[in-house]
């Protein structure tokens, strides 16, 4: 888990000439999380899709690739670790951020073993998850 570091935030959206937007898929079976994260990222200049049902999200990632996947861990049906395994198998260069209300050292360790980029405990600050995405963009060279 990364510590809360609100003051070391990456700079805001910059006036790049690049037209391609970073794409994000959000999966959480709590509707409130999707309802808030999706418009938040859209307004920050991202392409975002959100799903409450793991099956639907899975169907969607089989159709197309996303740059970033943000997923809950504990869900009805398919659990987040399984979902992230499938995403990673399809697109090894998609980065995954796990958000969970049941953060334990064990789940965190397991997530990182599966190649998770970041592990964020709920509740979290909006700026914190934006930080994570921006770091991914930087590392993947998605932003100039």
């Amino acid at each position: 888990m990364i510590p809360d570091t609100p003051d070391t935030r990456a700079p805001g959206p910059d006036a790049s000439t690049e037209r391609r937007r970073t794409s994000i898929l959000i999966l959480d079976d709590e509707p409130i999380v999707c309802k808030r994260l999706k418009p938040f990222f859209q307004k920050a200049g991202y392409e975002a899709e959100a799903f409450n049902q793991p099956a639907e999200a899975l169907a969607r990632v089989e159709e197309r690739r996303f740059d970033v996947v943000i997923t809950d861990l504990k869900m009805q049906g398919l659990d987040g670790l399984a979902f992230l395994g499938k995403v990673k198998a399809l697109y090894p260069d998609t980065d995954v951020i796990v958000i969970t209300g049941f953060a334990t050292l064990e789940t965190a360790r397991e997530s990182f073993r599966k190649g998770v980029f970041d592990f964020v405990a709920k509740p979290f600050k909006l700026t914190k998850i934006l930080d994570g995405v921006r770091r991914i963009e930087k590392e993947r060279g998605l932003v100039p």
Binding site: R9, I32, L37, P39, K43, G45, G101, F124, L126, T127
Partner: protein, 854 residues
Amino acid sequence: MQLPVWMECLVWWRKKPPVPFSVLFKKFKSILERNNAILELIADMGDKLGGDYIYDRQYIFASCEKLGDQVFKLVSDLSLLCQRKNVALFNAFEGIQHQIAEELAGRRTLSRTDHILPLAELTHDLVDEGGNKMASIGDIRNILGFAVPEGFVITAGAYFEAMEQAGLRKLAAETTRRLCGNGGQGLVEEARRLRQAILTMALPKGLARAVEQAARHLSGNGREMLAVRSSAWGEDGEASFAGMYESVLGVAAGDIPAAYQQVLASLFCEEALRYRLHRDQCGEEPAMAVGVMRMVDAAVSGGLYTYAPLGEQDQAMVVSAAWGLGKPIVDGTAETDTFLLGRDPPHTLFSADISTKSSKLCLDPAGGTRTLDVAPEARDVPCLTGDQLDRLARTAMNLERFFKRPLDVEWAITTSGDLVILQARPLSIRPRACALRPDVAEAARDAPVLLSGKGITAMGGVASGPVHLVGEGEDLSDFPYGAILVARHSSPRFAKVMPKCRGIITDVGSATGHMATIARELRVPALVGAGPATRTLRQGQEITLDADHVVVYAGVVEALCRNELVREDVFEESWEYRTLKRVLRHVSPLTLLDPKSEAFRPENCKTFHDIARYVHQRAVDKLITLAETHQEITKGAPRKLDTKLPLGLTVIDVEGGLDPAAGPGADEKDIRCRPLKAILEGMNISGMWETNPVAVDMGSFMSSLTRTVGADMAHPARLGRNLAVISKEYLNLHLRLGYHFTVVDAFLGGSINDNVIYFRFMGGVTDFTRRSRRASLVAAVLEQFDFVVEIKGDMVTGRVKKHPTRAMLDKMFMLGGLIGYTRQLDAKLDSDEAGQRHLEHFFNRIAAVKETRE
């Protein structure tokens, strides 16, 4: 039934010889720790209302469970310490716990059991009691401060009671379920049957009496006509049920009960039943609150759409207006004037389409309404002046910003020229330009960024407008309408211009301060602690503030602003937000303030915070009495410590904290406890204790009130008993000075790794603003001295550890000064600037004292 563990312990305890003091002291310490944990948990939950956090229902359930568990253990701990059952306290705990459980179970525990709620008390917090429509009208009146008709609401609770008593609640539920099951067969007949039953049911006697009485009062003993309006759960919300429920206009006071039943019955009209069927709402029990309002004797009435639906003018709002009452306009039967106005100030008039208005609807003094001819000279003239249009436009924009939706506003202008808002509901047609299209994101990407990444979101949202810089102490009376306020410090005095301003940015400020609270209440986007805002932004410069993303763009980013109005869900209206807010009503307010008052009793604990406060006070008291009366169980006898300042301090020396040679009347010379010695020195030497600090020119701040409070607090009788538990290296100090409440827990002088100071400060009798200012001041001081500081509301906690003993003792010295300094400060913190001055003054004073000491 098996005895709970703690009771068994009590039984065991009575038979045993007195428990060693060390055991009791351990219990005492665990009470303190738990108390801290509880206060932090409460503050933590409160923070989540700020809009900065993503949390889900799981968080709410988990926090409530954890909190309930801790509070129960706290009460049990006190029972053990005091060897009493504390039945009253357990009962208070059970009661609060039950209320929270009901809230969580979604059984809307109507927080008010009244049948009638006056409009003056209604806001969205009582949306379950008052229904959506009336709650919105309550917000417009009580939060935004616009005129609405006088009135009251007959609550949803009253509806349930009436239906229950008539045996119809079950019938309605069964009917709905049956219709859902069979796809609506026989719906017309079922609807008719239900409605008939409701129309003819007998209202519960108490309810009928309350309604009649309130109606009589509202109508001025029958002199004025009333309007009866539906305000069902969910009406005008996501499911609009627009126009399905009934409203009855021009009702005489005596006919209100009948009209009330008519509106109740419309809850089960054909359209509504069908709507529920199609929207898959069969499982949710509907409820109907009903608003009763005075009819407005309108000279002009009409409607306003904050977005013109036609789409020709992207940035226009449309007003339709006619002489007399508004019903024909809403029904679409009247000839109306139509005005198109700019959405942005100065709200330019794009077009005015004036029609011939030959008739108007008026109140009939004999009851009801009647249609009259319009005087010939008034028929072809506009029924609104430019000023009136401007006032309407500004009001509507304020409403739209608050509700975060394009709105359909019904309004009236009275014969005396006052603008009255009759209702505001979400505009069902979404403006063309509002759709969330990719260009929204593009617009944000391409806009030049002025500020980014620094600041705390005090209230989320997007706003655009010209910058208006506000200097310290500057007069706000000519703050320009529609501007964005930019200032060095956040200040509660901005509250009065919030209805005029679109957003707030400050260089310095806290998200838990008073200003932030007001901004949240009024939903004005606000960014605090944004660093160089006043230096970067120029007066009059057009900017767009995106408080959610902590970015300020140059120019107006249209797409972002419009997008703000089509949020799929407004966070403040979500289940999570409302539930947490409702739960917190049973958790965080502190109502037990004065331990010396008669009311400081377990029965009066209304919240978990109250219980924590009560237990803490009793635990401290108990430890003192224990030490006084059972000297045999304490290792060192308790002493009244004779201090230079009137602290009323009792000392319990666990080991080596006092000179062994000292008698029962020990004084400061006898202290061997290093942390206590240092803190007392700080109080004494630093000269911070005086009621009148010298170096600060307080001038007019030194109101007589300040003097009274100052003198009063110095009186020993007000100080009560304070407690210090000490050893040579350890200090656990509880100081209640006036209404300030300080806890210091320190271990100093062992190995450097064991050195630790914990400091907590809270309380005060002044208003929340001043207490928050004092909290910020204390926090700033602590931070200067390397403490890790947390502010939650008016509670400040600071922790510092692993510094060399010498440095830690300096910090204790400083704390002594701080305790002395702040005790007489509250009433003087009447501005944020005063806080800043006092901060500097304190630093100078401490530095000077330190120099002379060295």
